[in-house]
């Protein structure tokens, strides 16, 4: 609703002018991403996206984001090769600065993106009429949740624990 109101307020001309201005001013490129230790599938630029979106998606401010990236990396490695290729395309799309700016609507490079901006992107793609955007949202949702909640480090906050009696009896 908000975005529709903003659009109407800007008016047709204002909107067009913005578009043109935006077209000429190339979106900021992502700075060279630093390598994260312990990743085998994710490239540094992919990990950057995961680490930028994870706190927003998971709703957790204090989050060991490198650990989440490792969890995501592990989750992807277990998927069939055809699915891994789709995920490759997803990261390539989000990592493309034009797509980030004009499709995802995220202005700054992922590493600098504000929580509000990232959340707006996620919500729009979640609700989008386009199946592709829905599935990218769900793909990110799935991978990042699996990457975090697959780790015992996440359990205490949930009040979850494995049954102690049996754990002691495992060989």
């Amino acid at each position: 609703m908000a975005s529709r109101r903003q659009f109407l307020k800007a008016g047709a001309f204002g909107g067009a002018a913005l578009l043109i201005a935006g077209y000429w001013a190339a979106p900021a490129a992502d700075p060279e991403a630093e390598a994260v230790a312990g990743l085998s599938w994710l490239r540094p630029a992919d990990a950057q996206i995961v680490m930028a979106l994870a706190p927003v998606l998971l709703g957790l401010a204090e989050l060991p984001v490198a650990k989440v990236a490792q969890g995501v990396d592990q989750a992807i490695s277990g998927l069939p090769l055809a699915t891994q290729e789709e995920i490759r395309q997803m990261f390539d799309l989000l990592g493309n600065r034009w797509a980030r700016r004009w499709l995802a609507g995220v202005r700054p490079p992922w590493r600098m993106a504000g929580a509000m901006e990232s959340a707006r992107f996620l919500q729009r793609w979640r609700e989008s009429r386009f199946a592709l955007q829905n599935s990218v949202y769900q793909g990110l949702h799935r991978l990042i949740h699996a990457g975090w909640y697959g780790s015992p480090a996440s359990w205490a906050a949930l009040g979850y624990q494995q049954p102690a009696a049996v754990m002691g009896m495992l060989p």
């Binding site: 709703g59 949930l158 979850y160």
Partner: protein, 535 residues
């Protein structure tokens, strides 16, 4: 009790079972057998034992690895890649439905939730009357159910249901809905709640700890991490002449480059309702009726979550012990889709990927995990004239994907089931209830939930749909022009090919399918053993 839990598989291996790990094969392998069984799940496992008992030389070929109780660490992040197809992330073509299927020695029975129902009488009657299968009466099937029940310890579960199941029971009582307890296939169950990650105590009577060890002890051979790629038919087109496949590496995912070839007098296909048709499609051996891979059913599942005032601990205790068939009988079998109500176990990883929201909303819901309840509705697909299920297709790399289009019949069932589940949850005392749908928000009363559910958009990738019951795709029937196999799983075209898994069902079962798979596989294996004995 002190000391460690004994590991039946490791003991068996030490005793000299002929079990080979495909990942360890340095060379291509050529083997022969009386009967090669492809897939070691419910159908393949129970058939392997029956055929070994009949004195046949059996070779089991399984894509998944041989994992056993010592490997089962009650850890989702370990279990899903090891024990499930596509790391428990298999999805239909449009990604609308997530499909849980096992991929290990023992197949889906290693990870299933132990609910054990006979095929409902109205389903059998439907097959008798509409699929040319007059022999499949309740009376005729009874001995096969009884045999499977005895073999697998299936019986009433006497322990108190866990909190999650009690909510369902309480809701049914409050609304006057017919409900009952669920029989389970367990012996000496510790009531842990980790069935979905592999049973660490060997209490679940899965194929892994029952029929497969028994077959191996009788000399059957097992080749794991061995993926069958294709079957070759003899030039006359009458029989299957060879089985060809690839060994997988230690990651269980990537082909190692080594291959195998098997010649068998008889071939049993039991790779599950997506795997079995996929093998024939890859082989270019679809049947004359054109039904191979068609009419694949899922019991599409909708879910509704609720926050309860009391502690539920939905991760502890036998996952499924209460069900209600009330909504199976509120309309004709071939009318609007009926649905069965049960509950799922809730563990952090699977719950968090299945719950639709994100951000602090989602986090605050998950933080209340010990108070979380979820109800599920299994929709009975395949009876309504517009419920025709899905179709197995092949990706460019030959791997299978199920195209299951969602239509009005499904959406109508989805909406009715969300309403029924929310009503039930409030009747059971829920503080908040919410259908798993991207546009849903937690409702604090039945009235509020009803209004919200009436307004939910019905489309793919908005509603969260899942399935753990893949059935059909190689339908049995009385008429070769309308079905792929006969009532014993015998293929209409290839005389030495029998299908003994969940793919032979001409509709969905209308109840959790494992006991149906067991009974039909026992019946088919018995028929096959007699035929082979006649020579």
């Amino acid at each position: 009790m002190s000391g460690k839990i004994p590991d039946l598989i490791r003991q068996g291996l030490a005793s000299g079972w002929k079990a080979m790990d495909g990942a360890a094969q340095r060379n291509d392998l050529f083997l022969s057998a009386d009967v090669a069984v492809i897939g070691s799940g419910a159908g393949g496992g129970i058939a392997a034992e029956a055929l070994s008992l009949a004195g046949l030389d059996v070779l089991l070929l399984e894509e998944g690895g041989l994992h056993s109780s010592s490997d089962f660490r009650l850890l989702e992040a370990k279990a899903y890649p090891e024990l499930y197809q596509e790391s428990a992330s298999r999805q239909t073509l449009d990604k609308a439905i997530t499909i849980l299927q096992g991929r290990a020695v023992g197949g889906s029975t290693v990870v299933n939730w132990t609910s054990s129902f006979r095929t409902p009488p109205d389903t059998l009657l439907w097959w008798q009357e509409n699929h040319g299968l007059p022999g499949l009466s309740v009376e005729a099937m009874r001995p096969w159910f009884e045999q499977a029940e005895r073999r697998l310890g299936i019986g009433p579960w006497l322990a108190e249901p866990n909190g999650n199941n009690l909510v369902l029971e309480r809701g049914c009582l409050a609304l006057g809905l017919r409900h009952a307890r669920i029989p389970r296939n367990v012996r000496g169950c510790w009531n842990l709640g980790y069935c979905g990650m592999g049973c660490p105590t060997n209490a679940k009577q899965s194929m892994l700890v029952t029929c497969i060890p028994s077959a191996l002890s009788r000399g059957a051979r097992l080749l794991s991490r061995a993926r069958v790629d294709r079957l070759a038919a003899d030039p006359a087109g009458k029989s299957i002449s060879a089985i060809e496949g690839s060994f997988l590496g230690a990651d269980g995912n990537t082909p190692s480059g080594r291959r195998f070839m098997v010649r068998a007098r008889h071939v049993v296909l039991a790779a599950g309702a997506i795997g079995t048709p996929a093998i024939l499609l890859r082989s270019g051996l679809a049947d004359a009726s054109g039904q191979t891979g068609r009419r694949t059913f899922l019991h599409p599942v909708t879910l509704s979550a609720a926050l309860m005032p009391e502690r539920i601990e939905p991760y502890n205790g036998a996952p499924q012990s209460v069900y209600s068939d009330h909504y199976m009988h509120t309309q004709p079998l071939d009318g609007a889709l009926g649905f069965k109500l049960e509950v799922p176990p809730i563990h952090p990883l699977l719950a968090s990927v299945t719950f639709p929201g994100f951000g602090s909303e989602q986090a605050s819901l998950l933080r209340q995990l010990p108070h979380l309840h979820a109800t599920l509705a299994l929709m009975r697909d395949g009876f309504h004239p517009d419920s025709r299920g899905g179709e197995v297709r092949l990706r460019s790399d030959g791997s299978p994907v199920l195209d299951y289009p969602l239509n009005d019949v499904i959406w109508d069932g989805a909406r009715r089931s969300w309403l029924a589940m929310a009503e039930l949850q409030f009747a059971a005392g829920a503080r908040l209830a919410m259908p798993l749908h991207e546009a849903a928000r937690p409702a604090s009363s039945w009235r509020q939930a009803r209004a919200m559910i009436e307004g939910l958009p019905l489309r793919a990738l908005q509603a969260r749909l899942v399935s753990a019951h893949v059935m059909g795709g190689m339908a049995m029937g009385g008429d070769p022009s309308l079905s792929v196999v006969d009532e014993w799983g015998g293929h209409w075209t290839w005389r030495n090919l029998t299908v003994l898994d969940g793919s032979i069902f001409p509709t969905s079962i209308g109840a959790n399918p494992q006991l149906s798979v067991y009974a039909f596989a026992l019946r088919g294996a018995d028929h096959l053993a007699r035929a082979l004995a006649r020579g």
